[in-house]
Each structure stands twice: as C-alpha cells, then as structure tokens.
C-alpha cells in the first residue's frame, strides 16, 4: 500500500464487500462493471455468513486477480463473527494466501495477520475508539483503518489529532463507510431464517431471495432495520455524498456498500464529488454527531 497522505486530497472511492447473498452470475456481472468503474479500491469476500458459498475462495481469488489487472487495489475481507473451528480454518486459508492484503473484521484475524508480520486493513467492526488502541493496532500491522460506523467527524478529528498518533498520522490511511445500509450488529441468530420461521440450521440459504435484505419497519411504518442473515443493518441508507468536503485532509477513502439498484450511478457521483439532496430513505446522522437515523442538512422530501 502506498503510504502517503495529501492534506488537500478528496477521498477516493472504495467498493465495500457485498454484504448480501447474491447468485454467482450476479456477482460476476457486478465485478465486471466494477472493473470498468472509477473505483480505486475493491474489497472482496463474505463478511456476514460462512454458509454463503456462491463464490468459492478460488472464485474470489480469480476475481481479485481480474480486478487487479484492471488497475484496482484489491483487499480480501474476512468474516466478522468467527465462531467455529471451520471458520478458523477458512481464516487460515484467507490469511496465508500471500497475494492480497486482508481486511480484518475480527481481532482474531488481526492476530493471524500480525503473527505473520503482514500489513492489514482494520475493519469497522473492530472496537477502536481512541488513539491508544489505534496506535496498538498500527504496531501490529494495521495500515488502513475503517472507522466504526457510529463515530462522528468530530470524534475522528479529535482522535487523529492526538499527539500519540503524531508519528504515524501521515502513514495511517483512514476509510469511512459513506454509502449503503450500515452494518449495525451481528448475532448468533439468523434473522432472515427467523423471518421465514426457520432455524439457522435449516435456513436453506433463504437470504439469496433477498438481494437487498428484508426491511423491518415499526408498527407505524417507519423503516428501522434491514435483516441480512445474522447481520442487522440500518433501515435507511447512509449517504455522506454531501459531506465529502468535510473529509478533506482527514479521510483517504469513502466506502460504498454494493446494492443492486443504482450503485454504479452513485459510485460515479462519489468519484466526481457530486452533491445531491438526501432522499427520504437516506440518513447521515452519525457523521454529524447525531443518532444514526437522523438526517442533517437539505433533503428532497
């Protein structure tokens, strides 16, 4: 990873791992489009549920190769909630592939990578909230940090300006989740299977029927959460499209989380710094130190 930081730089676009369960053909078509897009970084891998296997590990490696040849910087993303022995075996495969950088979404992954002195990306679900814990992860090899989704610009700014980080600030890259339904929680339980009255053991991989997850609303019809297997996401889409100016000199990459709707158009807008009033189902509260589901600033409706 090139470790440089330009204070005047506008954040570059990264494509996050696909959080939903899509059929193989859809995955292949999506990444063909990404190969031709203006994205700088692409994260590949299953981060939610180990039972999802439309893409095998070999498929991911092949796709990573294809994207790299198209000029993208590729990072392989690991599972967030690692529980079983099988999960750890898959983790070993991921962390010893020796070709692509890995995004650690669990400290167990960070541990495997640091044991091999490999640099890594620290994912948003690692609980790093202050300068000292960020510094510790830096010492263990974290070269890019994806900030926890619930943190605000103020929190990030305060954290990065602490003297403890003076010596590494120029080398540590910062990434912010900036578009898509926010990953908010992971459980032992599968909520998509539950929504179909099934246990997780008998899930029949039913999440493949919901390429954008299943929306759950309050009894008053307010969108609250999106059910995505064991993951619970925000009911609204997070969108920091209008906040890119406030990231200059602070954030290197904005992460866009893939969806099947208008993703390529959004990717282009983010790449070109195009502002656009938020829609009714879009929010940006966290970045503005508000509850995540709040909208700050102008909106369409």
């Amino acid at each position: 990873m090139v470790a440089c930081f330009d204070q005047t730089m506008v954040p570059k676009v990264s494509v996050g791992p696909i959080l939903y369960y899509w059929p193989k053909l859809q995955l292949e078509q999506f990444y063909q489009q990404i190969a031709d897009s203006s994205a700088t970084v692409v994260y590949l891998g299953e981060t939610v549920c180990s039972k999802r296997r439309e893409f095998s590990f070999a498929d991911y490696l092949r796709t990573a190769q294809m994207l790299q040849e198209a000029g993208k910087q590729v990072v392989l993303s690991g599972l967030t909630l690692l529980e079983s022995q099988a999960d750890l075996r898959a983790l070993q495969q991921l962390t010893t592939q020796g070709q692509f950088m890995v995004e650690a979404n669990d400290l167990g992954t960070a541990h495997y990578l640091s044991s091999q002195q490999l640099p890594f990306v620290g994912g948003a679900a690692l609980s790093l909230y202050n300068e000292q814990s960020v510094l510790k992860l830096w010492q263990l090899g974290m070269r890019r940090w994806v900030v926890p989704v619930e943190l605000s610009r103020d929190w990030l700014q305060t954290l990065l300006s602490q003297p403890a980080l003076d010596s590494i600030r120029q080398q540590l890259e910062i990434e912010v989740f900036a578009y898509g339904h926010l990953p908010l929680a992971w459980s032992g339980r599968c909520f998509t299977a539950r929504s179909e009255n099934r246990h997780k053991d008998d899930c029949q991989l039913c999440c493949i029927k919901y390429p954008t997850g299943r929306l759950s609303t309050s009894q008053e019809g307010q969108p609250l959460f999106v059910l995505n297997g064991i993951q619970t996401q925000s009911g609204a889409k997070y969108n920091l499209q209008n906040d890119l100016h406030s990231m200059q000199g602070l954030v290197n990459y904005v992460r866009l989380s893939p969806d099947p709707d208008e993703f390529m158009a959004k990717l282009s807008q983010f790449s070109h710094g195009v502002a656009s009033p938020l829609r009714a189902n879009e929010v940006n509260g966290y970045w503005h130190r508000l509850a995540g589901f709040n909208q700050h600033g102008p909106s369409i409706e």
Binding site: G98, S133, G188, G292
Partner: protein
Amino acid sequence: MDSSRSRTYTEAHELLTKAVTKSAAPLLELLCPAGSMPALKAAIHEGADAVYVGINNDTNARHFAGLNFTPEQLKDAVQFTHQAKRKLHVAINTFAHPGQLIRWQRTIDIAVAAGADVLILADIALLEYTQNRYPDTEVHLSVQASATNLAALEFYQQFGIRRAVLPRVLTLQQVRALARQTTLELEVFAFGSLCIMAEGRCYLSSYLTGESPNTAGACSPAAFVRWQEQAGQLESRLNNVLIDRFNVDETAGYPTLCKGRFDVDSERYHVLEEPTSLNTLELLPLLHREGIASLKIEGRQRSPAYVRALTKVWRAAIDNVKAAPDKFQTQESWQAVLTGLSEGSQTTLGAYHRHWK
C-alpha cells in the same frame, strides 16, 4: 509467501489449538451483579463467590442514573467483600473516548487503590495501561471485547488477561470447543437479560438514540424512553420510535430496541428477539464438566431483592451440581423463582441451544 513465516505461523497455530490443562482455576464460581451496597450485601449473604460492580461514571456498560459505586463506596464494598472472604470485580468496560483516556485510567487507578480483586476490561488501550501500570492485577476480558473464537482469545492474551467472558452468541458446542483449547479461564453468562447480538459490536442503540454501550455505557438509554396510552393500548417509544404496543392483558417490557415488535412485509412479530431472559440452569452439569470457571448473573441494574432471590437459587444449584454432577436435576422451585424474575416471565437457553438460532 515467505516459507519461514508460514512455518512459524503453523507452529503457533498448533500450539494454540493444543488441548491444555488449567491449574488452580476456580470451577463454577457464582459471580453476581450489584448496582448498590444493598445488592452487594444481598449477594454475599446468599453465597455469591464474587460480585461485580461499576464505578458511577460512563466507564462501565451499566451507566444508569442512581446506579453504581462512588470511589468511597467502592472501598466499603471491597472491605465488606473481603471480610466475607469473597472477591470483588470492577467492570471498566466501555471504550475510552479520544483525548480522554485519562478519565478511564483514573477509574482503573481508583479500583486498584480500593483493593478490587479483578478488573473487567474491554478496551485495548485500557488492557495495555493496566498491564504496564499494574502487572499484578488480575484482569478479565469483558464480554464487550467480543472475543468469540480461539484466535481472538489468543490476541487478547498478549495483554496478560487471565479470564475471558464469552459473548452470548456461541452454541454450547462452541463454548465446549473453546474450553478444551484455550489456556484462559472462561466465564459464561448463566442468567439474565439476553443480548442477542455479539456484544461490543452492536450499534443499534446509537442508530436510534446516538448513544450505544460502547460510546455511552448504555443500550436503549432510559432518557429516550417514553410511555403513552393510545386507544386503550400502552405504547413504548425510544427516541420517539415506536418499539411496541401492549394490550391491557400483556406485560409491558422495557423498550430495549432489539426486543420490539416490528413488521416484516405483512407479518408483525418480535423480529429480533422476544422479551425473555437467558436461563442456563439445565446446562449446569455440562458447564461443570467443561471446567467453566465462572457463571455470570446479569443485572447490575436490578434491585437487591432480585439479586438476593437469584443468588439463593444459583448457590443451591451450583452446590448441587458440584456435589453430584451426574445426578443433577433442576428443581421445580428453582425454575419457578427464575421464571418469575425473567423478562416477560419467559426464559430461553439462547444461543447455547442450536434451535434458538
């Protein structure tokens, strides 16, 4: 890939996964919650082996008004506990805010100076501080650190922890596998409110209120709760979001947001989880066999009467299983007490039982 690196890695991994024997570890310690001196005394009187508390600021995950101990009260708590030859654990398990580490560090200093036996920590920065500053202090990894696998436990072992509290997302088989592989003592949740998400990685509360367990030490904070009567029904709201509506014949539970009744398409149900409490009483022989060091009772926010009743039942049950593990049977009177003290008068084995998932 550098082959010497991968060899070192494999060796490390083998070492990691090798079965180990633990020496001098406690077995099925009864660890009870206390949000106040009366609750602490109730727990000790009824036979808790250890009690865990928090200090009255936002450094712990039960940062509620009127709860927890002042530094002075903490000294009294230590004295009382030690006189009874029991142990006091202090939870300092939120994550320090940037530029404010000193506040969390001072809280650690206060707990150590008061004579606490154990610190329960989650933040890497605080684990590191304690290791450097108080290398002789026993540290347990809080459930908020979200260590759900052997690799994560190994990660945290660099900070000299002695025990880890396991998140409530693992099945019994997974707990068993960890118990057989790790050199750490393991603590599991035995009873109380059930977090169904991997603790320490749940931002549902801040999504709706701006405050989360990690940033503010509270989930679905009381300041955001509102109750109102509407057309003969009782509504519970969190930051104005409707969490549930109750008929007159229903028990209205606290609007913890993951326990609300929401809609998915045309179906209305408890989308994430019912209001229910975790109850592992029937798993005691298995937890005993696997050498689980400690059973944690959730509920620092509960009353002294609650703590007293629970402690009594769990003391009897643990003594029973230790005396004759093969003959252990849960008693109806125990279950009746536990069910009566549960959310929505319902209990569950939670993730320990595969079918819950």
